[in-house]
C-alpha cells in the first residue's frame, strides 16, 4: 500500500530506502512553490525539500503534462503581475477607464484569494474577460493587448528554458523510439490511467503522473497536492508521496485506507 510522509521526514526517508533512488517524480505545485518565494503557501517548505533533493543528488523527473502546467502557471502569474502593475499611479501603460475598473475588481478578488490562502493568480476566465476589454493594437493613446503580451510574455521560450535548466528538470519521454522506457517497469496504458482517474476522481493530469509513478522505478513523488497524496494512499503499490507538513497534518495524516471492519 502506498504511503505519505511529510517534508520534515525527508532525511529519514531517503536514508531508509535501498537501493538509493535513481530519481523521483515531482508535480507542478511543488516546482511552482519552490520557485515563487512568498507567493505560494508552501514556498518555504518546497525550497527546503528542493535543497534536500539537491543535497542527495536525486534527479528530478516529470512528464510533459507537468511541463504544460508549469508553462500555464508562468503565463498566468506574469500577466497577473503586469495587469496589476497597470493600476499603480506611475505605470507606463495607458489604459481606458473601463479596463481600469475591471482590473480593480480583479485586484479585490486576488486579495480575497490571498486571504483565503490560495494562489493570487488571475484565472483564465478573468484573463479572457480582460483581453476582451483591451483593444488589440494601440489606438487613441491607449496600449493594445498584443503589445502588452509581446513585452511581458514575448520571451517565454527563453524563460522556460532558463527555469527548466535552473530546476534541473528531466522530462520523461514515454512514447516513441527515443523514449525513456528504462525508467518503466511495464508499459503505460490509457486504460490504467483511466482506472486511476476513476478510482479517486483524479484530474487527468494527476492521473497521468500517478500512472507513471506506479509503473516506474521511482520510489516516490514530491507533491503539494492533496489529490496526489490521496491517490498514492489508495493504491496497492509501495510508492510514497512526500508532501508539505501542513498538508500532511491537517488533511492526510488521519486518512484511513485500511480494510473496513
Amino acid at each position: 500500500m502506498g504511503k505519505v510522509i511529510p517534508f520534515s521526514q525527508i532525511d529519514l526517508y531517503l536514508n531508509s530506502i535501498h537501493p538509493k533512488a535513481q530519481g523521483c517524480l515531482v508535480d507542478t505545485n511543488f516546482l511552482f512553490a519552490a520557485m515563487y518565494k512568498g507567493v505560494h503557501l508552501f514556498s518555504e517548505d518546497a525550497e527546503f525539500l528542493f535543497e534536500k533533493l539537491a543535497l542527495y543528488n536525486i534527479p528530478v523527473y516529470t512528464t510533459i503534462t507537468t511541463r504544460s502546467e508549469l508553462l500555464d502557471l508562468e503565463r498566468r502569474i506574469i500577466i497577473t503581475e503586469a495587469l496589476m502593475g497597470m493600476l499603480a499611479p506611475h505605470s507606463k501603460w495607458r489604459i481606458s477607464n473601463e479596463v481600469a475598473k475591471k482590473l480593480k475588481a480583479h485586484k479585490t478578488w486576488i486579495d480575497q484569494e490571498a486571504n483565503a490562502g490560495r494562489l493570487p493568480l488571475l484565472t483564465d476566465y478573468r484573463i479572457k474577460q480582460t483581453k476582451e476589454l483591451f483593444i488589440p493594437v494601440r489606438a487613441s493613446g491607449k496600449n493594445g493587448w498584443l503589445e502588452i503580451c509581446d513585452e511581458v510574455l514575448g520571451n517565454l521560450n527563453e524563460r522556460m528554458a532558463f527555469i527548466e535548466k535552473g530546476l534541473g528538470l528531466n522530462y520523461l519521454r514515454l512514447r516513441g523510439e527515443d523514449s525513456d522506457a528504462r525508467f518503466l517497469n511495464e508499459p503505460l496504458s490509457w486504460s490504467k490511467m483511466h482506472s486511476l482517474l476513476g478510482k479517486t476522481c483524479l484530474s487527468s493530469s494527476d492521473a497521468m503522473l500517478l500512472n507513471v509513478l506506479n509503473h516506474s522505478i521511482f520510489p516516490f513523488i514530491v507533491s503539494g497536492d492533496y489529490d496526489i497524496a490521496y491517490g498514492v494512499l489508495a493504491e496497492p503499490s509501495e510508492k510514497t508521496a512526500i508532501i508539505p507538513d501542513q498538508l500532511y497534518k491537517n488533511k492526510v495524516k488521519n486518512l484511513n485506507f485500511g480494510k473496513s471492519s
Binding site: M35, K37, G168, N170, R182
Partner: protein, 64 residues
C-alpha cells in the same frame, strides 16, 4: 540516442530562478501582491513554516 546522464537539481539553480523572479517583480510599480500573500502566509501558518521544520531538522541541514 538520448543523453542518459540526468540533470541534477542544485541550490544555485533554484536561487537563480528566484532572483530572476524578484528582479522582475521589482520592475512592477506596485509590489503589494507579493507582500500581501507573504504576510498572510506567515500570519496563518507560522508554526508549520518555521518551527516545525526547524525543530525536526538538524541545524546543519537547515544551513545548506
Amino acid at each position: 540516442m538520448a543523453d542518459e546522464t540526468p540533470k541534477l537539481p542544485t541550490k544555485e539553480g533554484l536561487k537563480r530562478i528566484q532572483d530572476s523572479i524578484q528582479k522582475r517583480r521589482e520592475k512592477i510599480p506596485s509590489d503589494r501582491l507579493v507582500k500581501s500573500i507573504d504576510e498572510i502566509t506567515r500570519e496563518k501558518f507560522p508554526e508549520v513554516l518555521e518551527k516545525d521544520i526547524a525543530a525536526k531538522t538538524p541545524q546543519k541541514d537547515r544551513n545548506l
